[in-house]
Symmetry: C2
Subunit: 692 residues, 2 copies
Amino acid sequence: MTEHLEKEIQDAQEAVAKQGDTVRSLKASLKEGKSEKADVDAAIQKLAELKLVLEAKQKEFEKATGKVSAQSKEALRAALAGVLERRMFYIPSFKIYGSVAGFYDYGPPGCAIKQNMTQTWRNHFVLEENMLEVECPAVTPEIVLKASGHVDRFTDFMVTDAVTGECFRADHLLEGHLEALLEDKKNPPSAEKIKEIRELLASVGELKQDTMAAALKEYNVRAPGTGNDISPPFPFNLMFKTSIGPKGDLVGYLRPETAQGIFVNFRDLLYYNGGKLPFAAAQIGNSYRNEISPRAGLLRVREFTQAEIEHFVNGADKSHPKFASIAGLRPLLYSRALQMGEEKKAQPMSLGEAVEKGIIANETLAYFIGRTWLFFIKVGINPERMRFRQHLQHEMAHYATDCWDGEVETTYGWVECVGLADRSAYDLKAHTSMSKNDLTAFEKFPEPRMEEVVKVVPNNKELGAVFKKDQKAVKEALEALDECGAMELKSKLEAGETAKVATSTGQAFDIKPGMVEIKKVTEKVTGRTYTPSVIEPSFGIGRIMYCMFEHSYYTREGDETRAVMGFKPIVAPTKATVFPLVQKPALNELATKISRDLTSVGLSNIIDTTGNTIGKRYARTDEIGVPFAVTVDFASVDGDGSVTLRERDSMAQVRVLQSEVANVIRNLVDDRMTWGDVTATYPAQKAQADEE
Amino acid sequence: MTEHLEKEIQDAQEAVAKQGDTVRSLKASLKEGKSEKADVDAAIQKLAELKLVLEAKQKEFEKATGKVSAQSKEALRAALAGVLERRMFYIPSFKIYGSVAGFYDYGPPGCAIKQNMTQTWRNHFVLEENMLEVECPAVTPEIVLKASGHVDRFTDFMVTDAVTGECFRADHLLEGHLEALLEDKKNPPSAEKIKEIRELLASVGELKQDTMAAALKEYNVRAPGTGNDISPPFPFNLMFKTSIGPKGDLVGYLRPETAQGIFVNFRDLLYYNGGKLPFAAAQIGNSYRNEISPRAGLLRVREFTQAEIEHFVNGADKSHPKFASIAGLRPLLYSRALQMGEEKKAQPMSLGEAVEKGIIANETLAYFIGRTWLFFIKVGINPERMRFRQHLQHEMAHYATDCWDGEVETTYGWVECVGLADRSAYDLKAHTSMSKNDLTAFEKFPEPRMEEVVKVVPNNKELGAVFKKDQKAVKEALEALDECGAMELKSKLEAGETAKVATSTGQAFDIKPGMVEIKKVTEKVTGRTYTPSVIEPSFGIGRIMYCMFEHSYYTREGDETRAVMGFKPIVAPTKATVFPLVQKPALNELATKISRDLTSVGLSNIIDTTGNTIGKRYARTDEIGVPFAVTVDFASVDGDGSVTLRERDSMAQVRVLQSEVANVIRNLVDDRMTWGDVTATYPAQKAQADEE
């Protein structure tokens, strides 16, 4: 039954290949003036159509055979990539030099979408919450990233082909190998083996160097392509290294995240905020990760834009004043319990309930989950295809309190686009310790309290007599003791013992009874100094863009060859197109005037006087996701002065006065008016254009 | 007469130093809750005041002595830096780790201004001219920068202290040394020597390695600080180097300019533009230069934001369709002739006249000079303190046709903020040659022409017999000959000689008569292939910001302690503040409502309910350059519903209905209304607040 389909798929594949050749040869002759741009465009259009036919056949095959759709995912991804690359949303960087994996350029529409996306993010988070936005350099001296742990721990395990020296990520290699074993039809593994493989697969990301080495050995993983032996896995630091200044002695890295720039400025930011907590700081900027072997296109790149928030809060009180405003939202939550359970499926749950039941650790973290969900919907992510997945206990760093990833479903599976983490006071403490700068805040009690505190009073005379030049260091070491250390010392000295105390240089000194007095006293305390906790929502802008592209892409009902990017107006690179119905000076003139009107209310627009049929023009603008189109006809200039306004997704058309149309579109883009309002207000125009 | 002034200056300096200590100690105790934020602020304010007193004394001294104002420039710069750092416009990066020269962070107001500046740039250039905006990575593989010449030639001469190894820029050292000689009062140089030194000073920037070495030796320049010997000068490449990928064999650099990203995409951009020229592409992004010893604060940094335009045009026709729109503008032009002349002073001249007289090379270059001038004025540069300086012949690269720098006068002298260069076809040719990709455009003639062309027809049989496996390479080499090469070969072969022809791999082969036929034929030619020229306006955003800060800074008439940043509303980080006149719930409520109104029309605003006097609040908002202030009083809630609207620079106040005030400010910010319109429309309020 499916044989004829298989044949058709083969034919379609050949047709795509052949048309690819035609496009290449036409492009070459265009350069020499021997063909026309329109011919090339037509050939490319034809190629896209053939690809879509192939895709449709593949879908049909899958429907018939019931096979799940790896192939159709591939086809969807390829069709989308075709539109994105052809319309220059993005292009592999340095293309004329053969490109370098993991680097992409944004072309004009991609660039516009990225700006709209970051500007929406800024409005949604920074302005709405009065966050303090900063901008710090990407080049960062080593000490900063030593403090943050990146120099020592920001690594992936790498293996190399023992013969060719080619490099691979150990976890990717192991994963690929295990998945292949599971699907091996010739030598299917035993049920027991399957269980073992599945368990290993689930923990690949958390293997340590020795367990990774053991697993690679046990399963006899070999180099892809060559089948050669591989080296044992070793950690490879993912930071791009450089040298600052002319002497070559100051090591620097390109930052792997923007967050550290905020932490090192904490003291100044706190002061800027009048010493008050909580407050949030934010940064939008580029980060860099020298991935071992980047794949997955736009999802794993070596230079990418992050938008990060560090919300500083007193660890003792993580409530949020605006929590009520998001408590009723019901995003899909994929809690630890659901991940460990039978169904392994996220469930919608109100954020209020999630906090109440202790599923989400605190109100502030939940508040940002809610705001993130609203942001994703605003920029065009389908909320039914996004979930918040909680980190399992072993996935979290030891200091983290609770972490949730905002994940979006795509043809690549679930893609992490946002990480939301309650990182406790780890980061500020790390920088305090490395920089010897005090990154703390002071909490003034509403009323002074009487508190029992431990006082350490060194006996200067005695210390001087015994320790001479080291007196000062010993004195400081004694005074620096924390409460427990002091009480321990007290009990030893009271027992007549000698106790060792280490100075800041690590030297230890013998302290004997009489050298120091340690006592508990009751004092009036006006407040306390503490290191704030930080709740960090961290967004990968490029990933969100790619997921949004996948969720926006569709083909016109009944016509699989017509691709549409259904961008929300707020992110669309171009908000409107203006067409004269036919090529007449009066119509062109009015179209130009309307284009100017649109520009003057800040709307990017394209005027198209190519003389193509209206249907073809719509098809072109659909591909770059233009939400509104204005058509000028004879009635616009000679009749009632109205023009046709068409909405992309419904393809519905209304008549609006030419003098009003720019403002109507402005209101639609700003969400002050819905398309429903427009169709209710203005007379409909029968859609004839699309059938042309 | 000036002795008492000198004493007063000394006293003022001591007072500044003492108050500096007070601020530091108050800050420390604020951390421990032992002082109040308000006290610290007051102490800082006092410090600023004392600095301004010092500055005033210095100015007075200069007026009295007639000495030119190096000192007062320093004082102005210091006073401004005080405001900028205190209000966190910027901060040295990695401050808690002791900072690294040449890196700065933008704090919240700096960040906002930078966004406003780049957004204004985007609207003024990209949207207005329909430029194709792209975004390319900063990490760039070596081959791209090899092609552009940066790997080989992007260097400064460096010398090192022979004992300590410290590094210096050779030109800075020589300059400093020569300037000191000129000012040496003890051993004044002879008139002849002065002339020699002045001539050398004028050419320091263009010295080659050997002439620089000779000059350093002749003048016996020694290491600053130590007085040690210095090494001979050697070139130091200013690019940050890194390695891409895990193998370490792919060298990369952080781009030193954004332009190359556009050039390597030329082919795709031309296609995107329908194959039509001229068109412009633009990019806003960060660039990196590993300066040897950065000084001059924000003006010479190692990581900075550029906004660059590459306007691609047929070299045979550099007219511009919108030239008429800027031909009447009269910026200060500092042409080659004026620089070589007696007065050495820029003169205003209309751009139309400058092109007509051949002072500016072509209309397109002049068009961008005009548009740049308008942009500078729009963002708050004083047009009387900015000029366009033409490069002298020896300053330009050999390929450049004409170059002009947009320079702004500051306390550091004239600062280059923009470079506008007609670079001919150099860049595209360089990448064509390195990448072997054809970066040309095709110009279709209006009518086909009959033209004599040289045809090279290899004799395949003969070539095959002689060159065997090299036949193809030799054939390609023959066909690749340009017209001159082919005619030269023809004449040799006709003379019966043997001629050498080199293949693309560099191998040379002997060509003998009979192996190739070369003839001139008359053909119908429909057009020609050419490499486009490029006109490049390149903006340094950070430098423009700093110059704008200097031009915006002033103190209130009669009160040198009150600093004002007179930002244009379009770049101001905060557009308005809202104050309740006194602390009453009804007033606070209305103030909050007005703040929300402002936010909803997209205006950043601050609501200040600190209860400080209105005068103090104005002083604070003046410092961050807030252009408009709204004060809510009892009449606003109980009376006619009007509020006071105050404009920062004139300090004039009017009464506006509370429901209207947000829109009035929106219109003012968007330049749809002037302050003059407002005072003509709304009743004045006598300014009492500032005297409080």
